[in-house]
Amino acid sequence: MIQEQQPSNDQPSRQQWPLAVRLFASVVILIYLLAVAIPPLAGPPPASELASVILQPFRPLVGAFSLSHGYRFFAPNPGPGHSIRWTIQTARGNTLKGVIPDAKTDWPRLLYHRRFMIPEKIAALVPPPLAPAEIRREATRDWQPFAEDIATHLLVKHEGQEVTLELIEHYLPDTFELKEGRAGDDLTIPLGSYEWRERTSQ
């Protein structure tokens, strides 16, 4: 493995570093590698308490270089897609409607994906409507600040008075349903109505 990766020796090269420099560089490399490898061990759930404890001294480095990734792409299962449907009442009495993301207007595709992440990440915090009331009440504390921010953004952008947000979970048909031309209904979860107010928390 190491032999295979050895760079070519057919060119003039800078002298090997002195032992002290190599030792120092080795320590720095090890610290960096730990800061890379520990965050995905420590989260997202399920994760051990030990990983969380080990992560503590690395938090400054992880934060400074933005290394706190879980790398759980399409895991544990690729689920249904989500979007947020909004309806705004303007001061003039008009009604505006839209969706986040909007495949027709959110272009280029990278902009679409950046906006697509908004409903996807909020959906991870919102329990299904049939979940026990206690769980839904607890979860509201997590997702409502995000919903308020989205509402404020839309109200400022469209000069609205009130906005209603709904999280849409798009039905994901299985192969049998698709072959038979069947499909279930999208799931709609209300995220509340919000009136325009001056933002105070910055």
């Binding site: 493995m1 190491i2 295979e4 990766q5 760079p7 070519s8 057919d10 060119q11 003039p12 800078r14 570093w17 190599r22 560089a25 490399i29 960096y32 490898a37 995905p40 061990l41 400054p60 934060g63 400074a64 270089f65 933005s66 290394l67 706190s68 879980g70 790398y71 759980r72 792409f73 399409f74 895991a75 544990p76 690729p78 249904p80 897609g81 979007s83 280029p108 595709r109 990278l110 902009l111 679409y112 994906h113 950046r114 992440m117 908004i118 909020i122 995000f146 921010d149 989205i150 404020t152 953004h153 952008k157 798009h170 994901l172 192969t175 049998f176 698709l178 072959k179 928390s201 910055q202």
Partner: protein
Amino acid sequence: MKRNSDENKSCQESLSWFASWWRAWTIFWFTPSNPLLLGVLRILVGGLLAWSNFVWLLDQEGFFGLSSWQSAGNVWRLNDQPWHWSWYFPAQTVLATNSLTAVSLLAAISLSVGFITRPAACIALAGYVSAVNRAPLNTFGFDDVLGIMLVPLIIGAAGARLSVDSIFWKKQPVPNPETTIALRLIQVHLCVLYFFSGCGKLLGASWWEGTALWGAVANIQYRTIDLTFLAWHPLLINALTLGTLFWEVSYAALIWPRLTRPLVLAVAVFVHLGIGLTMGMMEFGIAMLIANMAFLPPHLNTFQTHQDSELATGQNS
């Protein structure tokens, strides 16, 4: 007497074992590398980062402004503060946020062309970290992969080849250990990424059942090419899903041996171009492929230039 001799022998074996480790570690991290490959990576990563910054600019107010999708106050509370810093937190005007993103964009372009390369890489990294820490609601895998490559581009001699710097300074680029460290950091980080990505999938029943790929194909939010005809080919879905899973889980082991590396890289091209084309995440796919390029030979024989030939000739003579 015999006991002392055994102890000495055991001690020597232990020392020899540690010496072997140190020798292997030193070869792995500090054998000088030709900076050509890192120069190619710099051009590609800088270009991709510039594109990312341009897209941030398209909805500057929504991502970093006072009435953004996610308020600075809520982000501050959500993040692990004070470590998740961002230069957008103190920026309180449209002019300030626009200027900071423009600085990030210019730094990324400068990095790509190799102009004042190392300072440009530092500013580009600061701009990247500021953006992802300020707008965590709008980031995804593409941003994670860009982050893998920026620190190594600061460490290695990324501007020594194929750069504006190399034209002005006219210094002869030589293989150096810092370039090796940079390439190794990208390689090892990539192994960590695939390992955890694969292990995360092992938690999901659909990956074991071989149906997970259908979940991506049938998701209209992602779809850019209609592959729903796969519904009539369930065994093909199984094979593609299980193949992807096995490849991700085994990447960290099979990428190193000479025999398996070309196969692993070939699958990477197939998987990431597939994701890019069919799920509309071309930037993510390209970023992953660029990161995988760190496993190409450092001297890139296939792209050998006249300058390389001269270097080699000089050494031989």
